[in-house]
């Protein structure tokens, strides 16, 4: 149900229109309204709703093909006996990712953004409506594969988690600094491929810290399983902090 989100539902009444008598001549009207105010307001509503359920919420961002969905498949399979999950999948088209997640038995909802290049707080607010949030520990939001636009849109998450695979080149943090600045955790994925590539892992970490001195960095491979325990510890610590 849409309560106060600005979507086209007919029962909306939250915009109060004060009609004043028209004056003659031009006049200047100060507005000073933030362009992302609507998104930020809805993100705040999402955050309050998630907080009330003790839900730990992650917004997974990366370029297409970094392995976000594979990382989720492995994580859900390995941790589902210890934690309860729900997953929102964002893509321009297809329900392919949701179908892959559904195989793990975790509740999942696909959001197709069509022409849109990112998820916004409004889509997420509606997207979680079908989930039993109080019975869920972790909500994973897999954003549209795009290192640009999702950086600007708060969804109400606890952390943005950037995934960067070693096939992409170590200078991605310098090329797309907004995204790596917005993330709290960087997962460097596909490290099982390092012997076959000229990817400089130390340089990549240096570049990421140059853009964001506070970023946490974990190296892993969701294919071989290397480094996954560190990610799982981080995840479980986050859930524990939400439910003291």
């Amino acid at each position: 149900m849409c309560t106060d989100c600005g979507c086209a539902a007919p029962d909306h009444h939250h915009h109060q229109h004060h009609q004043h008598e028209a004056e003659h001549g031009s006049r200047t009207v100060r507005i000073e309204e933030n362009l992302l105010a609507q998104n930020d307001r809805l993100a705040g509503q999402n955050r309050a709703r998630f907080e009330a359920c003790g839900l730990f919420v992650l917004n997974l961002v990366s370029s297409p093909g970094s392995g976000k969905t594979s990382l989720l498949e492995r994580t859900l399979t390995d941790l589902r006996s210890r934690l309860s999950f729900a997953v929102l999948e964002g893509d321009q088209q297809t329900a392919n990712d949701a179908e892959r997640i559904a195989v793990t038995g975790v509740p999942v909802k696909q959001i197709n953004t069509g022409a849109g290049c990112h998820l916004d707080a409004h889509q997420v607010g509606h997207g979680v409506d079908g989930f039993d949030l109080p019975a869920t520990d972790v909500l994973m939001i897999e954003n549209v594969g795009n290192l640009v636009c999702p950086a600007s849109f708060d969804l109400g998450e606890d952390h943005k988690v950037a995934v960067l695979s070693v096939t992409e080149g170590e200078d991605k943090p310098l090329k797309y600094p907004q995204m790596f600045r917005a993330a709290d955790l960087l997962l460097i994925n596909k490290i099982d491929l390092l012997p076959y590539l000229r990817f400089d892992l130390e340089k990549c970490k240096t570049f990421a810290r140059r853009v964001n001195p506070k970023i946490r960095i974990l190296e892993l491979s969701c294919h071989s399983g290397a480094g996954m325990e560190g990610w799982y510890d981080w995840l479980q610590d986050g859930v524990a902090r939400k439910n003291p």
């Binding site: 229109h17 004043h20 001549g25 006049r27 100060r30 309204e33 950086a151 600007s152 600094p177």
Partner: protein, 113 residues
């Protein structure tokens, strides 16, 4: 191209404000876009004509004011002009720049009849 959504927000905010003022015409709308906001002013200007069609802002002049980026170094305290790709403090070379200005994305004012 998240500028399309950003431009739709400009039109929605300005149209709502204009109606609240009982305006019959909007001559101009002034928008502030920070250099560090990740939003391209040119792309917003490009989208504005299409987004304003059929609204109270059709034919309105869009004025974009660019807010330059400024940062302060967490190590040496120096303030300097920065852009999105400035990672090191120009004074001491340290990598702990705090952004002071340049992330603005605001509709500042309208001129209405």
């Amino acid at each position: 191209m998240h500028e399309l959504g950003i431009t739709q927000s400009i039109v929605a905010i300005a149209e709502r404000a204009a109606r609240e003022q009982g305006a019959t015409r909007v001559n101009s709308v002034t928008v502030e876009i920070g250099e560090l906001s990740g939003v391209l002013a040119d792309a917003v200007a490009f989208c504005f004509t299409a987004c304003s069609q059929g609204t109270l802002l059709e034919g309105t002049r869009l004025q974009i004011e660019t807010i330059p980026g400024r940062g302060r170094c967490g190590a040496c305290g120096a303030e300097s002009a920065i852009d999105t790709y400035t990672f090191a403090c120009p004074a001491c070379g340290g990598f702990s720049l705090e952004r002071l200005q340049g992330e603005e994305l605001r509709v500042r004012e309208l001129e209405v009849d």
